[in-house]
């Protein structure tokens, strides 16, 4: 065994003693011997005082009543996706699906697939964020950023950049309509989320806001016949980004509410 193997053995079996084959190396290597010795846990200098433990137990027992464990992951994931799909459908039903006649089948299917996939990933991440100690496949803090960047690239590749007149006047209607749908979607999403334990409100707020925003973005993609990539980026995807920022601000306020309300 060499120093690297000792490191590996310490990392892999952190709570157990080192394997017997490490002993020979420890005899000859002062650095590894020092590390192994230093990492041996000695009796802790301070243990919780019996009074504190009793106080905790008393507090827990005083408010003890049966609770129903949170629903299985697949139900939570399905709930998020159902909210996304139903509000998008109702939104399109209300404002009309004029983009279907204008966009090519490739443009329509690719952008809708990208949006649906993004919504699925966000729903998956939120589902994990509701339960402490969940297993993560993607870093939850970075996921909203990765999704926004991926969608920007997809839009820039699928649609042409045109210089249209009255850019902001056209953009305003889309932003306003998309934001309204986003606000509507945020309510049921929050109702599902509050069943869980939100340990990182800023991260969860950003992901929830983006998922709500993607409802508006998706409905606008089906509704709006404007094919200008700048318009789609600013006034369709912009709705999603606005949602993420709003969720982030709400999350920050929740996380710092004690500092905000205290002088």
């Amino acid at each position: 065994m060499n120093c690297q193997d000792i490191n590996q053995a310490i990392v892999d079996g952190s709570a157990s003693p080192l394997p017997p084959e490490a002993e020979e190396h420890l005899r000859t290597c002062a650095r590894c011997r020092e590390l192994a010795e230093a990492l041996k846990l000695r009796a802790p200098a301070d243990v919780p005082s019996p009074m504190v433990l009793h106080e905790i137990e008393r507090g827990l027992v005083a408010d003890l009543r049966p609770v129903r464990p949170i629903a299985p992951n697949r139900y939570i994931w399905a709930s998020f996706l159902a909210i996304f799909a139903v509000i998008t459908f109702l939104g399109v039903y209300y404002i009309g699906a004029f983009a279907i006649d204008v966009k090519t089948p490739l443009q329509m299917s690719a952008i809708l697939a990208a949006l649906a996939f993004s919504a699925g990933l966000l729903a998956y991440s939120l589902m994990n964020q509701m339960v402490p100690g969940s297993r993560y496949q993607f870093p939850p803090g970075r996921l909203p950023i990765i999704i926004v960047i991926s969608l920007i690239i997809a839009i820039a590749v699928l649609f042409p950049f045109q210089h249209e007149q009255h850019f902001w006047a056209k953009a305003w209607w889309c932003i306003r309509t998309g934001t309204l749908m986003e606000a509507i979607a945020a309510v049921p999403l929050w109702l599902v989320l509050r069943r869980g334990a939100i340990l990182a409100p800023i991260m969860t707020g950003a992901a929830t806001g983006l998922l709500a925003g993607l409802v508006g973005t998706t409905a606008l993609e089906v509704h709006c016949p404007n094919l200008d990539a700048s318009h789609i980026l600013v006034s369709h995807l912009g709705v999603g980004v606005l949602g993420a920022v709003a969720g982030l601000v709400v999350g920050w306020a929740v996380e710092n509410r004690k500092l905000i309300w205290r002088p």
């Binding site: 990392v11 650095r31 802790p44 301070d46 905790i56 027992v61 609770v67 299985p72 402490p132 993560y136």
Partner: protein, 180 residues
Amino acid sequence: MELDRWMERYQQADPEAPAVLVSALSPGLLRFFRSQSATPGQAEDLLQDTWFRIHRVRHTYRPGEPVLPWIYAIARRVRVDGYRRSRRIDSHETALEVLPERPVEGEPRHALPVFEALVAALPEAQREVITMLKVGGLSLEEVARATSSTAGAVKQKAHRGYDRLRKLLRSYVDAAGGGQ
């Protein structure tokens, strides 16, 4: 001890369960807080806060899932909130970069610092990972779950932490005149 069984009984309001869980998990949690640079008083406050938060969200534990990542994910969050409340979080985010004072009289001159003092010299993320691994007895996968990370990232942090500890220990031993 089958912690997952006791967690299920806790969810079913078995009055024995809180005492069993509190006595089994509190020493590790207190040591976790102490290793994260909390004073004994702060660590006991954080321990209490952790248990009351665990109580509020006990329905989010899924029967059959490992208990330790669930507990330590909550404890980790309580620690961050606790530091934020005391407006001392910034000073705790910075690694000390030096090992603590050498042992007092009565101990051998080359005695190594205790674990808590040793890991205090590490940056926040490495300290947290190594404390969970060594003190909490969590596996790499469990630390990844508790820190909302991946096992690969946790392994990398642990390796970097141990490499840094080797260097710090060597300089500590050399300075104490106990090196080879």
